[in-house]
Symmetry: C2
Subunit: 648 residues, 2 copies
């Protein structure tokens, strides 16, 4: 029977559905044979029990079908109402929206009025509110947009992509475990809650003195045009690009940061398999085509390698020539000693053991020195210190090692003299961009880093703490200063919890007070101990929500101030009270039918159960019910029919 | 309340879910007021009845949830089994598969052995069977592949696209009502049932004497290579391209024949709306961007226009500036007097009235004379015979008027001297390509046309019928000839049903017999009356199934002949008994929340109900349960959350 199903070309997974039809019969024949073995009774009860189970499963199935039918009817009835014959009359458009005035340092059109600012009464009222401009449509921007109350700001989102992407599942989308459309939600639908505006463009420059953001728009003839979008508050959430580490040939690599990347990767993977099965492809070329190289052993790299492995095991195996499956090789090149090195050690070990078992080739302590169209060349540092050079023939290289600054972030830091960080925009504890007009510009997510150096605040801290102005800090004054430090650099809190020990450690002359020299040394060491927040979705999302809450608070305060006839000069004082604090909720990663979690002090690794936990966590994080439903459907579809093998 | 929901940015369709929460309360207040109106009792019973309905809906909902839960658990349990740790050992590959011998007229590699021919015992046995090569992956190819019994042929499918497409829903996919991935099924999964092979390449030439098909393959370096794929039976199902009618500028038009076309159209539509909402776009340009022109009033053109209209009404309306919705214009340019002119008149009228109501601009009796990047220029013939020239500014033009020959079909007809048809390969009543070695090559679908001329068979028919060899056909002989005609040109059957009338009509000298001159005139007139089969999915599918059944029969006969030690010289006689007969099952089209059917003599037009009927017919036609599930899900998702607005 099984031979027959194989012959008829069914996927082995489909056979499961056929079994119940045949097996009960067979068991009955065995059960009632004349020479019953001693354990027949036990078997029989198992048989009966399974009959009962089957009966109830049947009931469940029936009620499922009935329920689904009713549900379906309801949905179709609802469907009928979504078709409509509404007609739109010509709407009034402010002439300024059609022919914007020019201005600003570069004399570009200034978008003071949007096309839809006079669409209805609500829009007209919002047009009077402070202009909040958000650059980017990722996790940070989502955090802000989902936290803001409607009605308080004239919101404009500027982003080249018209949708927000659920980035953690991009590796899944890259092999088709989930569809790309299940990971995205149109930004227009999200801004609609705030009756905000969306501009499909790229922020390229800024004039902070005039509060004008310069946006590049590709017009209908494909020509790039620039306009100014005025702002009162600006939130920069532009994300980051991949770090090149100065490696030549990265143009031959894929990245995995956007939906377009995932689509390209999927196409290339299918291309490689189709080419490998062509009659003209020689054995050597087939091996090169089916060699997948991932540079970087962080979560993205590891998950992509795991997804490619899954895809080969579950789908390629069933429908491509066996030679294709046999020739597949997956390589992960990691510069550190372990993969997933930001996770706990148990997790790294688990992932490495899993890859070892699956035959995924792990190359640690290695540096990629060049990428060519056909090879990845890397060097490995041996334990005796010698360096060996290797090369892997490949037609697929993923580059996912670290982040670098986005061009707009770079431009902004160039404009501000006190921005010296190489990889991100430095912000203060309230996520306000350092050096920009206070309270005007915020930066969040991958493009921002919260300052960790305390020394620049030295004079201020001393001024505040040194009550007797004797140029020395005694222990009481030190306690005051500790509070000041915690406020300014909240991330230092963990490192100055032992107030007395720290004081005594740095009071080298033991005069029961810290001289300014001793203090500088203390603050320097302290600053060095603080590690920056990782560039993760979690951090960006929390920062976005923080900004959203602050903006809500601000608009309430503003309303109060206006009621009392006051202006907003003191706004930055008002929000000074609560700096941003990051709450680490754990990390997770998918490693081929298994998942790993690192939640606080608790690390958890495991197989299918963990994978489902991993899925459910991501499922909860979705921005909309739509993507949640789509994701669930994708997972079910994959379970039942496997991944789509079409090269699209 | 409704004002509030609108303000909070919900789509109007979502409001439906909120109503039941509020309305029963309101009705109760009205119902129990002191001055009950006379019809209060009726209202009350409606209220109670609706409560009962609500109760049962609640039960249904609960059982749905329970059922779904059990279903979900089952699927997840099943899911667990789809992950596997199977490993593939190096498989033996025939050296001939790796280094194919060269041969044929152009001395190219001949793929005698495929890479997976020795994957297992079944494959090895199939490698000995007659080689059936199918070119194309559309409706015709599907018909063959789904009808063939496994185990009788060594099947190879040659197609540049790796999947088959459900073409009738391409207009839906072009605006995102359904997802493109829901319309496709990988060819590898379909060939898997027959343990066949798939070659991702394009047929470019053929050597009929050597039975070698020349296939162009794009190799790993993007270079085009050619190989010979040997065949014993060849089925040509390459489809058609769009007819240009010699109009200049068609490179600025979209077509809608493939998934890639649908994706490009969707991108362009979203592009147009995004560009139209940009602050830099002037009013004139916005109108051009939002003007959609469809050239061709056949089903594809009409359905695409209807889908674009739906998309604007249901999705654009809710999330784009009102100015965008107000400026949308949709134009359909048709060369005939009516759209859907192959359908019954009632249907054309209904569709035209619907478009009229929706404000879709219908331009009939018009010819497109040129397309520029920004305009469509067309001429209209007035009733008084004068010709007017008009032009519509647009950024989207769809070209869907008629079909033309695919390059491979062209090449084949050039090789065969008796192939004179301009638009397709001429085949006989058994779909065998005219002039090719008999029984070797079949052509089906859009690329083929069944011969309708009877005169070329004149001598044969007379020989067969003129028993007394007197050079005249009397009525008894005429009856024999009619049977002969029905066999050779089955499509003539309807036109020669009145045997006696026809005989008397053409027996001009009333000598109770037809002279050869009279006969030629009769057969000529008869041939002209027969109309060729339309280039539809239905015809292609039926032809494919016919070929599949014939090939099955042939392989059984072959096995019988071999058992009796005979060769296959007589095979074309064996299948001569039953020519292909087309059974018209009706035509249908979607026209914006409404559908039209033309089933035999019965024409049916209507709104939502017809639309659901339309959906269910297409749903039944799906090639796999997977695409069926995906389509249903797409329709539900659209009903609940609308179409995705992301520009991807």
């Amino acid at each position: 029977m099984i031979g027959a199903t194989v012959r008829s070309g069914l996927r082995p997974s489909q056979r499961i559905f056929q079994r119940p039809l045949i097996q009960p019969q067979i068991s009955r024949i065995r059960l009632y044979s004349t020479d019953q073995p001693p354990h027949a009774k036990v078997r029989r009860s198992i048989f009966h029990r399974s009959l009962t189970v089957a009966k109830y499963t049947g009931y469940a199935g029936l009620s499922a079908i009935f329920g689904l039918f009713v549900l379906g009817a309801g949905i179709l009835a609802h469907d009928a109402f979504t078709y409509n014959d509404r007609h739109v009359e010509r709407v009034p458009i402010n002439p300024l929206a059609l022919h914007p005035e020019r201005g600003g340092p570069k004399n570009l059109p200034v978008v003071k009025v949007q096309v839809d600012d006079e669409d209805d009464e609500e829009m007209k009222r919002l047009a009077e509110k402070p202009r909040l401009v958000i650059i980017g449509g990722g996790w940070g921007a989502m955090g802000v947009l989902q936290t803001l109350y409607p009605g308080h700001y004239h919101v404009t989102v500027v982003s080249a992509e018209t949708f927000t992407t659920f980035t953690p599942l991009l590796p899944s989308a890259a092999v088709g475990t989930v569809q790309v459309r299940s990971l995205i939600e149109p930004l227009r639908k999200i801004v609609a809650r705030l009756r905000g505006h969306f501009v499909a463009g790229k922020a390229v420059d800024i004039s902070m003195a005039d509060r004008l953001l310069e946006v590049e728009i590709v017009n209908t003839r494909g020509v790039k045009e620039r306009v100014y979008v005025p702002y009162d508050k600006l939130v920069i959430a532009v994300g980051s690009t991949s770090s090149t580490h100065g490696v030549p040939g990265l143009e031959h690599c894929f990245q995995l940061k956007t939906i377009a990347d995932a689509q390209q990767i999927r196409r290339r993977i299918m291309d490689n398999f189709e080419l490998a099965s062509l009659p003209t492809t020689c054995a050597e070329e087939r091996e090169r085509l089916l060699s997948f190289v991932v540079c970087g052993g962080g979560p993205t790299g590891v998950e992509t390698a795991a997804e490619i492995y899954d895809f080969c095991q579950e789908d390629i195996m069933n429908y491509f020539p066996k030679a294709c499956r046999a020739d597949v090789s997956i390589h992960v090149i990691q510069s550190r000693e372990h993969i997933l090195n930001t996770y706990s050690e148990a997790i790294s070990k688990y992932a490495e053991a899993k890859f070892e078992r699956d035959g995924v080739h792990l190359i640690t302590n290695a540096r990629v020195s060049a990428v060519t169209p056909n090879h990845v060349i890397y060097t490995v540092r041996k334990e005796d210190g010698t360096i060996e050079q290797h090369s892997i023939p490949t037609n697929f290289t993923l580059w996912s090692t670290g982040i670098a600054m986005n061009p707009f972030a770079k431009r902004l830091t160039d404009l501000l003299p006190n921005q010296v960080h190489r990889k991100a925009i430095e912000v203060d504890a309230h996520l306000r961009v350092k050096g920009a007009p206070l309270g005007d510009i915020y930066a969040i997510g991958d493009c921002a880093t919260i300052e960790t150096a305390i020394v620049p605040h030295f004079m201020e801290l001393v001024d505040e703490a040194d009550k007797d102005k004797n140029g020395k800090i005694d222990f009481t004054e030190w306690e005051v200063m500790v509070e000041g430090i915690k406020k300014k650099i909240p991330m230092a809190s963990n490192h100055i919890s032992k107030v007395r020990e720290l004081f005594e450690l740095y009071d080298t002359d033991a005069d029961n007070s810290l001289s300014l020299n001793e203090l500088v040394r203390l603050l320097e060491d302290l600053g060095n101990k603080i590690t920056a927040l990782p560039a993760t979705a979690q951090v960006a999302s929390q920062q976005g929500k923080y900004i959203g809450r602050n903006l809500n608070k601000l608009s309430r305060q503003q309303a109060g101030l206006e009621a009392r006839g006051l202006s907003d000069v003191q706004e930055h004082k008002a929000t000074d009270s609560a700096p941003f604090i990051y709450h680490h909720l754990g990390m997770l990663a998918y490693i081929g039918n298994a998942a790993v979690f690192d939640i606080g002090d608790f690390a958890f690794t495991g197989g299918l159960a963990a994978m489902y936990a991993w899925r459910s966590i991501y499922w909860n994080e979705q921005v909309s019910a739509r993507t949640r439903a789509l994701l669930m459907i994708d997972w079910i579809i994959r379970g039942v029919w496997g991944r789509d093998l079409s090269r699209l």
